[in-house]
C-alpha cells in the first residue's frame, strides 16, 4: 500500500510537531490549489470525528470491547452541551462549561452502562451497546419537554476562546483550535498507551483469562476504558453540536453514525492513534468533501440526482463504504497504520 509507505518516513523526518504544523497549514494550501472548495469548514468535521474515533479506539482498539453504541455517547455529549448552553434554559454555561460537563456526563454514562454489562463476554456486550444506542435515541425523542424533540436545541454557542467566538466569523482559528484539541488528545492517549493503565488494557484485550490470573482487575480495567472512551465520544458530541450550533434531531445519532466511527477505527488500524486520524480523514473526507464535490460536479454536467437516484454519488455512500471495508479486510486486515508492537 502506498499511503503508509509515504506516511511513515514523513513522520520520521518531520516529527509529531511537524505533522501538526503541516495539518495546520493544510486548509490554506488546499484552498490555494482548489479555490472552489471551502476546506476550512469541511475539514472541521474530520477533526471532530477523529476525536469520536479516539473514544471508540480506547474501548475497541485498546481494550478489545466491541462498542456499537458510540453514537449514543455522542448524543449524550451533544445534548448535555445543548441543555447547559442553550438560551431557553437557565444554565447557559458557555462553550467551555458545556464541554467540560459533557466530558463528565459521558464518563458517568459509560460507567453506569458498563457497571452491570462489562462482565458479559464479547458478542453479548456488543448487543447491549447496540441496544443502548437505540434506547438513547428513543429517550431523547420522547423527552420532548427537555430535548425539544426533532427540532433540536439551538442556537448553541460556537467554539470560543477567551470570550472570542470563533465559530462562523473566524473559521481558520476554529479549525486551529480543533486541531489543538486533537493534538492534545493524541498526546494524552500516547501517554496512556505507555503506562500501566494502557498496558492493562492491552493485556485484557489479548487474553482476559491470563490477565486476571496475573492479578489484573479485569472489570475495573474495562470499566475505566469504557468510561474514558465514552467521555471522549461525548466530547466529540459537544464539539459537533457547537460546530453545527444545534444538537440536531435525536435521529441523527443513529446506528449509521456508530458504524462510521467503527469504520474509522478499522480503516486506520485498531489501537493506533495516527491510524484513527488517518481513518477519519479517509471516511469523513470521502463523505463530506469528495462525495459532495462529486455531486456538484455531476449536477453541473447535467446529471440530476432528483430524477435518477443512482445518478447521485451520495446515494452510493454506504455501498462504497461497505465495499471498501470488505476490500480492506482482505488486503490489509490490520488497517492502514497498524498499532506497533514491541521492537523487532
Amino acid at each position: 500500500m502506498l499511503l503508509p509507505r509515504l506516511l511513515k518516513p514523513l513522520h520520521k523526518r518531520v516529527g509529531t510537531l511537524g505533522l501538526v504544523l503541516l495539518a495546520a497549514l493544510l486548509p490554506p494550501i488546499a484552498e490555494l490549489l482548489i479555490p472552489q472548495v471551502n476546506f476550512t469548514g469541511r475539514l472541521q468535521p474530520i477533526l471532530i470525528f477523529a476525536i469520536l474515533g479516539f473514544g471508540l479506539n480506547v474501548v475497541t482498539g485498546s481494550c478489545g470491547l466491541l462498542n456499537l453504541g458510540v453514537a449514543a455517547f455522542m448524543a449524550i455529549g451533544a445534548y448535555t452541551y445543548g441543555i447547559l448552553t442553550v438560551s431557553v434554559y437557565p444554565f447557559q454555561l458557555g462553550f467551555w462549561g458545556g464541554t467540560l460537563a459533557s466530558l463528565i456526563t459521558g464518563a458517568l454514562a459509560g460507567f453506569l452502562l458498563g457497571l452491570p454489562t462489562l462482565r458479559l463476554r464479547g458478542d453479548y456486550l456488543a448487543i447491549v451497546t447496540l441496544g443502548f444506542g437505540e434506547i438513547v435515541q428513543d429517550v431523547l425523542r420522547n423527552l420532548e419537554g427537555i430535548t425539544k424533540g426533532s427540532q433540536g436545541l439551538n442556537p448553541l454557542p460556537h467554539l470560543s476562546i477567551l470570550g472570542m467566538e470563533l465559530g462562523s466569523s473566524h473559521p481558520k482559528l476554529s479549525y486551529l483550535a480543533l486541531l489543538a484539541f486533537v493534538a492534545a488528545l493524541a498526546l494524552i492517549l500516547k501517554n496512556l498507551e505507555r503506562s500501566p493503565v494502557g498496558r492493562a488494557w492491552t493485556a485484557v484485550r489479548d487474553d482476559e483469562l491470563a490477565a486476571s490470573c496475573m492479578g489484573v482487575p479485569v472489570v475495573k480495567t474495562k470499566l475505566l476504558a469504557f468510561a474514558f472512551g465514552a467521555s471522549l465520544c461525548s466530547l466529540a458530541g459537544a464539539l459537533w453540536a457547537s460546530f453545527l450550533g444545534s444538537t440536531g434531531e435525536p435521529g441523527n445519532y443513529d446506528f449509521q453514525l456508530s458504524v462510521v466511527a467503527l469504520c474509522i477505527v478499522i480503516v486506520g488500524g485498531r489501537g493506533s492513534i495516527p491510524g484513527v486520524i488517518l481513518g477519519a480523514f479517509i471516511m469523513v473526507g470521502f463523505n463530506s468533501i469528495l462525495l459532495v464535490e462529486l455531486s456538484e460536479l455531476l449536477g453541473k454536467s447535467g446529471f440530476s440526482g432528483t430524477q435518477n437516484v443512482f445518478a447521485s454519488p451520495s446515494n452510493w455512500k454506504f455501498f462504497v463504504l461497505g465495499l471498501a471495508l470488505i476490500v480492506m479486510m482482505r488486503v490489509r486486515p490490520k488497517g492502514f497504520l497498524p498499532q506497533q508492537t514491541g521492537r523487532e
Binding site: P90, S195, V197, D206, C213, M214, G215, R343
Partner: protein, 345 residues
C-alpha cells in the same frame, strides 16, 4: 504447615465429575507434582485452585485460610451505596419530565435571571405534591435492584482469579497464554501490575511519580528476564518469540507477582531433552528463592528428578500421594499410569 491445601474438593461439569473429593496438602518450600493419565482432572484441579473454575463443593485453603473474599465493611457500604444510588436513579427517571417542567420550564423566563434557590424550593414543592406511592415504589424497586445486583456481582467474584492472585497464587498455562502484542518486558510488567499503582491521572499525564515507578519496575523486570535467561529478547513482542522462550517468559511473568505458590501446568510440554534439563534447573532455582512450586507434568524424568512429593490422579480421584520412590512402587499408580516399564527405570 501446609501453604496450599484442598479439602474434599469436587468439581462437576453437568454429569461429569472432573475432580472427585480430592484432599491435598502442599508444604511450604517444596516441589509438589501432580501426575496422572490424560483427562484425570489435573488441569481442572489447577483451574479450581487458581480461581478459573468455582468448585462444586469443598474448600481451597491458602496458609490454612479460606481463599475467598471475606464479608467486610467495604462490602456492606458498597451494597448500601449501590442500593441508594439506584433508588434515586429510578426516582429521577420516573419523574424527570414533570420535574423538569415544574422546576425549569415553568419558572424560567427567556433572557431573565433565574432564581436558583427558588428552584430548590420548587423541587421540594413538587415532591410534596406527588402521591406518596409514586415516590416510594420507584425507590423501593431501585433499592432492591441495586442491592441485589451488587450482591450477585460480589458473589460471582468471591473467588475470581484476581482474588487468588492477591492471595499469592500465580500460574502458567498448558498452552502458553502470553500477551502476544506486548513486549517481553511488558508481559512481566503485567505480572507486577497488582503491586504497581496504576492511577489513571498519573498515567494520563505521565507524572514524575509514575515515571519513577516505571523505571524501577522495568529494572526489576530485566532482573527476572535475566533469571530465565531471556535478557536479549526483552524488547521483542512476546508473540514473535520461539516456543521455548515463550514458556520461560510465561514462568518469569508468573514470578513477577511475587507469588507464594507457583502453579506450573506442563512446563516441559514440547521441549527437547536439553531444554527440559534446563527447565529442571530453572524450577530448582525457583525453589531456592523460597517459592513453593506445584507442577503438572507428563515428562517422568522431570517429575522424578525434582519433585519432593507427588500426587497421582486417575478419573478425578486421588489414588496415591508420597515421595517419588513411594509413588514409583505403588501398584495402583503403575497400573493406572506409569506402566510396568517404569518400575525398572
Amino acid at each position: 504447615m501446609a501453604i496450599l491445601s484442598t479439602d474434599a474438593l469436587t468439581l462437576k461439569f453437568g454429569g461429569l465429575t472432573a475432580v472427585n473429593g480430592v484432599s491435598l496438602a502442599v508444604h511450604r518450600g517444596e516441589i509438589f507434582s501432580i501426575i496422572g493419565p490424560n483427562g484425570a482432572g489435573k488441569t481442572s484441579l489447577f483451574n479450581a485452585v487458581s480461581g478459573v473454575y468455582t468448585p462444586t463443593s469443598g474448600a481451597i485453603l491458602i496458609e490454612d485460610m479460606n481463599s475467598c473474599r471475606r464479608i467486610s465493611a467495604a462490602l456492606i457500604f458498597g451494597l448500601m451505596a449501590s442500593g441508594l444510588l439506584t433508588a434515586f436513579g429510578f426516582l429521577l427517571i420516573f419523574h424527570i419530565a414533570a420535574l423538569w417542567h415544574a422546576v425549569i420550564t415553568a419558572r424560567f423566563v427567556f433572557r431573565q435571571s433565574f432564581d436558583w434557590l427558588g428552584a430548590l424550593e420548587a423541587i421540594g414543592h413538587y415532591a410534596r405534591e406527588q402521591p406518596l406511592q409514586t415516590l416510594i415504589f420507584p425507590m423501593l424497586l431501585g433499592a432492591t435492584t441495586g442491592t441485589l445486583g451488587a450482591l450477585s456481582v460480589w458473589r460471582g467474584s468471591r473467588r475470581s482469579p484476581e482474588v487468588c492472585a492477591s492471595f499469592g497464587l500465580s500460574r502458567t498455562f498448558q498452552n502458553v497464554r502470553l500477551f502476544p502484542q506486548l513486549s517481553a518486558t511488558e508481559n512481566i510488567l503485567i505480572g507486577m501490575h497488582r503491586r504497581l499503582s496504576s492511577n489513571f491521572w498519573s498515567s494520563l499525564l505521565h507524572l514524575p511519580g509514575m515515571k519513577r515507578q516505571e523505571k524501577t519496575s522495568k529494572a526489576k523486570a530485566h532482573e527476572l528476564l535475566a533469571f530465565v535467561e531471556l535478557e536479549e529478547s526483552a524488547e521483542r513482542a512476546a508473540g514473535s518469540l520461539p516456543y521455548g522462550y515463550q514458556r520461560r517468559l510465561e514462568i518469569a511473568r508468573a514470578l513477577a507477582s511475587d507469588p507464594k505458590v507457583l502453579l506450573l501446568d506442563e512446563p516441559a510440554a514440547g521441549m527437547n531433552p536439553t531444554e527440559s534439563v534446563q527447565l529442571m534447573q530453572l524450577i530448582t532455582r525457583i525453589k531456592e528463592r523460597g517459592i513453593t512450586v506445584v507442577l503438572i507434568e507428563h515428562d517422568m524424568k522431570v517429575v522424578m528428578g525434582i519433585s519432593d512429593r507427588i500426587a497421582v490422579l486417575d478419573y478425578g480421584n486421588l489414588i496415591a500421594e508420597g515421595t517419588p520412590a513411594e509413588v514409583r512402587c505403588n501398584p495402583l499408580v503403575i497400573e493406572a499410569y506409569l506402566g510396568t516399564g517404569a518400575h525398572s527405570e
